[in-house]
């Protein structure tokens, strides 16, 4: 009899695989890297998943009490090597490739919402953003704020800016310019879209893609891709560590 098809071995295998997935999810949670993958309001769901996986794994524990129970419990699904390999793939990939939030590499493939794009949606968030003081706005708040104005380039000129984001050098930008960006994640990184501001800074070229920076400066009317929009003229660009929550949540 093939080892794989012995009921006891099957049960042990299934239990271990489920526990491995639970432990994997727990390490993401405990290591603080869960926010690289999903919106923070889904953390509770992940905790539920860990509990559920452990509960299901425990149901495969060997029965010692009565033979009758062994007869009554039966399962039809046989986990093969291929199935096991697929189920373990997330763990393998998660361990082989060190966790990293989406960054400059993902920018090339995604829509970039350079602040000033008009959006009719998100009324509540827009109102909240408009009430914030200029220096407290993050990149997403700025995007919302610009969307309320028919001519943001003029209206916001001279306002102070203090934002955090990662650097991305877009080909369409000038010599001393860079994009400073955050990804906005409503559910998981599959739906990430970037919000960006153009920053003018003499040493922009010295900052590599993906470097996290805090930018302090002043807004001035500018232009990108033929559209009028505000540009941050930086007074200070301070390298910072990766924030605990790399993404913004709408």
């Amino acid at each position: 009899m093939n080892m794989l098809s012995r009921p006891r071995f099957q049960n042990a295998l299934k239990a271990l695989a489920l526990l491995a997935l639970a432990v994997f999810l727990y390490t993401r949670l405990a290591g603080g890297v869960l926010f690289f993958y999903i919106n923070q309001r889904f953390v509770a769901y992940t905790i539920f998943a860990i509990v559920g996986l452990v509960m299901v794994a425990l149901s495969y524990r060997p029965t010692s009490r009565q033979d009758k129970a062994d007869d009554a419990l039966h399962s039809h699904y046989r986990l093969g090597w291929a199935g096991l390999a697929i189920v373990m793939a997330p763990i393998a990939l998660g361990l082989l490739v060190p966790p990293q939030p989406l960054g400059a590499a993902a920018m090339q493939n995604r829509e970039i919402n350079v602040a000033s794009q008009t959006r009719s949606a998100l009324p509540a968030a827009v109102r909240a953003a408009a009430q914030k003081g200029a220096a407290e706005r993050n990149l997403l708040d700025w995007l919302h704020a610009f969307s309320t104005s028919p001519n943001p380039a003029q209206e916001f000129a001279g306002q102070p800016v203090d934002v955090i984001g990662f650097v991305y050098h877009d080909e369409r930008l000038g010599e001393n310019e860079m994009l400073v960006n955050r990804f906005v994640v409503s559910c998981c990184v599959a739906d990430a879209s970037a919000v960006s501001m153009i920053v003018r800074w003499p040493d922009a070229a010295s900052l590599p893609n993906d470097a996290w920076v805090q930018v302090k400066g002043v807004l001035q009317p500018g232009e990108f891709n033929g559209r009028a929009l505000p540009i941050v003229v930086a007074q200070e660009v301070i390298p910072t560590a990766l924030p605990n929550q790399p993404y913004l949540y709408p």
Partner: protein
């Protein structure tokens, strides 16, 4: 539409029909072939991309992006899959087949309507609904109810209705999403009213379905165990939940990989450059919904990002079609239905929601 085709009979007279094992094996071979093809294609695409784009560091960044998106979809979906599996296990053990037989309609039209509304009772998203439907089929659920439930439940359930409301508020998108999801699911379910289970379901599921509808020999396969102590019955339920989880997780993981691969390789701008045409925008948003494979509980927030630039009909199509069918769920369908039927289950909602989106763009001014 769904015609039962007699199984290719063997030329030798009187020989038994194709054994279940053989067709299952062929199916598995086919699936592996397909997976391998996609994997090779992806590797070729990544490498050719890397050669153009700047060598090893670039390639590594791409792989990193792929892994992050893949794990994002997977970690997001696992809670819903395990929840669906546990519900499925509990149904297997605690729901009486006779009750399904007695209370649920068998005629195609009422069955399709009931199936379309059943999500209000079982609030599951598109990952959770598949194991639940399969289990209900094994309990003898009529085909129409199952198909309508499968397609409608990810939208027509309290959680998703609430999330859509909080994203869009009362308006055309909110109302349209719920009404059209229900209608399209009911129509597709209705079309399955005349189909024979053995032409639709996978052999393993069909066998139990058959036994359930002919209760004479049902006690052999039933997990119902009415006389066992509750603790044991619960354990049996969780055992079955684990089996379901493993079975479905394979499709979920392969589907998430495909979706992540597409997102890493296909620039979104190719799809989004076409936001305003009445027909093309609908097609683009359907393609986007299929590729992104985002859970239905939150896709409303995502659709919000397109509400300004895309036609309303196309946003609706995204919200109606996406939860019914996407890369990961259509792979998961393979665990319940025969391949040919999975093709119907993808194309019918696709065409119907396309029709809906285009009609909306041309005729509705809300």
């Amino acid at each position: 539409m769904i015609v039962e085709r007699p199984k290719a009979s063997s030329p030798i007279e009187g020989s038994p029909p194709l054994p279940v094992d053989a067709s299952d094996r062929r199916m598995r071979l086919m699936r592996w072939g397909l997976t391998l093809l996609v994997a090779v294609g992806a590797v070729v695409a990544i490498f050719s991309d890397a050669l153009r784009g700047g060598g090893a560091p670039y390639l590594y960044q791409r792989i990193q992006t792929f892994v992050t998106i893949f794990l994002g979809i997977f970690i997001e979906a696992v809670p819903f899959l395990i929840a669906g599996s546990i519900v499925s296990g509990l149904i297997a053990v605690f729901v009486d087949q006779a009750a399904i037989d007695r209370y649920l309609p068998k005629a195609a039209l009422p069955a399709a309507l009931v199936g379309g509304g059943m999500g209000m009772v079982f609030p599951v998203c598109e990952c959770g609904v598949v194991p639940v439907v399969r289990r209900l089929y094994e309990k003898g659920l009529p085909l129409s109810i199952g198909v309508a439930f499968l397609l409608a439940a990810p939208v027509v359930n309290p959680i998703v209705i609430l999330s859509t409301y909080s994203a869009f508020g009362w308006g055309p998108v909110f109302v349209g999403r719920i009404v059209f999801s229900f209608l399209i699911a009911a129509v597709v379910g209705f079309l399955f009213g005349r189909a024979r289970p053995e032409a639709v379901l996978r052999p393993a599921v069909c066998q139990l379905h058959h036994d359930a509808s002919h209760p004479v020999h049902s006690h052999d396969h039933s997990h119902h165990l009415p006389n066992a102590p509750v603790g044991l019955r619960l354990r049996q339920a969780f055992n079955l939940a684990g089996d379901d989880f493993f079975d479905m997780a394979r499709y979920l993981i392969l589907g998430s990989m495909l979706a992540a691969g597409m997102q890493t390789l296909v620039p979104q701008s190719t799809l989004l450059a076409i936001g305003q045409g009445s027909v093309i925008s609908v097609l683009a948003m359907q393609a986007l919904a299929f590729v992104l494979s985002v859970c239905s509980t939150v896709d409303a927030f995502l659709a919000l990002a397109f509400a300004g630039t895309f036609t309303t009909g196309s946003v609706l199509a995204f919200l109606v079609f996406g939860p019914m069918v996407d890369i990961k769920s259509s792979l998961m369908f393979l665990g319940v239905f025969q391949r040919r039927i999975v093709v119907y289950l993808i194309t019918l909602p696709m065409l119907l929601s396309l029709l809906m989106g285009v009609w909306w763009n041309l005729n509705v001014r809300w």
